[in-house]
Symmetry: C2
Subunit: 336 residues, 2 copies
DNA sequence: ATGTTCGTTGTTAACGTGTGCAGCTGTATG
DNA sequence: CATACAGCTGCACACGTTAACAACGAACAT
């Protein structure tokens, strides 16, 4: 069958202990024998039996990458960037196991023996029980993308506020002053952050925030459509609208088009998230990219040092977002 | 630390062997003791140490899902559907490990000890060396999505020919008779299959295949643009174009628009693959969906029976494709 | 009464690896 | 010259699980 350290030991006329040490580059072993054994092992195409290693070292070499769900369609880009980002970091030191949290009826197969660490790519508060479970079991954990309130967990999230600030500042730089906002679900942290970024940009550049330019949405296409429809009834319509995500921007564009108005000719629209479709809609949407891949990379790196050092500061880290300029904003008089 | 079968054995006043057998529902054990032990184990929240199980049973409980690459952007939907499809089948009996083949400089960590089975979601002939490597090592294997020539491997692929047949038949049903085709890369199996589907549909409905209506492309946007541009120079322009994938359809639409012509007003365009962007372009693209999730599900199921039964017929299975009707085809005189 | 078989349980070894401890050799130190 | 010590190697056990085999009592057949 496959070659073991005992086979190598026999061929090298040493004990399997020596082989084990040599292959692990132990300082106890004489340099010459070490190299001799390493070469022998290489020539035999030896690969360690990871089950055996796992058993004695009490490490599974498994990392879990858990998504809120794999059943609703919105997360293909998410999944892709996350898997990619994490894989870049762990190379072949770990196995990356990808699952949806909602696949589990019971979590009891999730334990420290089976996972050296866990990454939760959280898209919803519904995975809080899972996060709590993992925390209880003291499995090294990072939570990505969604901000966790009670900060007893390593948390990496996009800097929504700064992203919102930038895109609104961009609108202002293009000469807009009548800038409306369509907000997301009220109880979401992201909604607050994005609204705050909008507010700060407006204030910084001394642009007035009109009360009738603030509309509430709930992050879906329909709510964007409805909110925009309301904005279009105003005597003085806004010349630009900051939608707190791309889906609402889609709805807003639809509402505008139905009034025989053009984007960006009559009204400029920007979104947030840079969803996969955003580059392909007409007009291509100017938006803010959430750096999922970078968050995943950083998160995985943090997790690895956590696993090795057994302890690390549990902090909330904001990863910079990126303004993506496409075709949905018009430069008007006064802009650069 | 965590509870083992020996702990349970002590509490139950039996040997650890008995516990092992009881938990594995062995017929050797008396029904009463079996239940007693199972209840005890449950109340202690016992979970087996999979490393130990793996070592003695020579099974890793790992399944590998390998993609040609995770670095080029085209496969987000692929990744998503594949991960989802496979996870649906394996439940929590296996760990699904997701990787890009091109992440590996050397395959030597891939072996039968580390993987009970491997699924290759192949998007390119470049992963043939990997497939050969896995086959050599006699690791249970299925290859999905791309047809393998020398059939010594379990192979599940979309029925491209039938899909092409259907979409072309649809064009004919909408009254089109001047139907052009923009083909893909010549050496690809998929190109041949799609062209053949086109040919069959035309023949079946006695529509003439004109020689000047056959253009060659290579599956990218530019080639679609170039091919369409050539078609537009013809005295008698086609009224519909079957592009062998969605990207070329995108290029074709661009070429048409630049001539001040409209899709589908002046020329109808259909694609193939149902890429993620296809629903969002203007006009939304009528195309053929490749059932990646279903292929993954079926493939995973085949793999599992392969792993269990140690042998299975190595066959090539075609999975049905699906016509997705959107807005890029016009019904003209003579159509239904 | 003795042997046979069945049903149930325990003893022991095995899977492949890592590691504490002992042991060996040679050299430096007193 | 004896002792200490450093450098290197091997023995034996451990990790948690499964399984071949032995063992035991009871029931049954001879």
């Amino acid at each position: 069958m496959s070659v073991t350290i005992k086979d190598i030991a026999k061929l090298a006329n040493v004990s399997h202990t020596t082989v084990s040490r040599a292959l692990n580059d132990s300082p106890l072993i004489n340099q010459e024998t070490k190299e001799r054994i390493q070469q022998l092992a290489a020539s035999l195409h030896y690969t360690p039996n990871y089950s055996a290693k796992s058993l004695v070292l009490d490490r599974s070499y498994n990392l879990g990458l858990f998504f809120s769900t794999l059943h609703t369609g919105t997360s293909a880009g998410f999944l892709y960037e996350a898997v990619k980002g994490v894989n870049e970091v762990i190379e072949d030191r770990y196995n990356l196991i990808v699952r949806g949290i909602d696949d589990y009826k019971s979590f009891h197969k999730i334990n420290r023996k089976s996972y050296d660490g866990i990454i939760v790519m959280s898209q919803s508060a519904t995975d809080q029980p899972f996060i709590d479970y993992v925390t209880e079991r003291e499995i090294p954990l990072v939570v990505l993308n969604r901000q966790i309130e009670h900060g007893q967990v390593m948390n990496l999230i996009p800097d929504d506020q700064r992203g919102a600030y930038r895109v609104v500042e961009y609108l202002i730089s293009q000469g807009h002053t009548n800038i409306a906002i369509i907000e997301g679900k009220e109880n979401f942290k992201s909604t607050q952050a994005r609204r705050e970024g909008y507010r700060q940009a407006m204030e910084k550049h001394q642009v007035i925030v009109r009360d009738e330019y603030r509309e509430r949405g709930n992050y879906d296409v329909e709510s964007g459509y409805a909110a925009m429809s309301r904005l279009l009834t105003l005597k003085q319509r806004p010349t630009a609208v900051f939608c707190c995500n791309d889906e609402m921007a889609l709805g807003a564009i639809k509402a505008i088009n139905e009034k025989q108005l053009a984007v960006p000719g009559d009204i400029s629209v920007v979104g947030f998230d840079d969803q996969l479709f955003s580059a392909f809609v007409t007009p291509a949407l100017t938006t803010v990219r959430r750096p999922i891949e970078e968050i995943s990379r950083e998160g995985a790196a943090k997790l690895l040092t956590f696993i090795e050092n057994k302890h690390i500061e549990k902090e909330t880290i904001f990863i910079h977002t990126e303004l993506v300029i496409r075709d949905s904003v018009k430069t008007i008089a006064g802009g650069v």
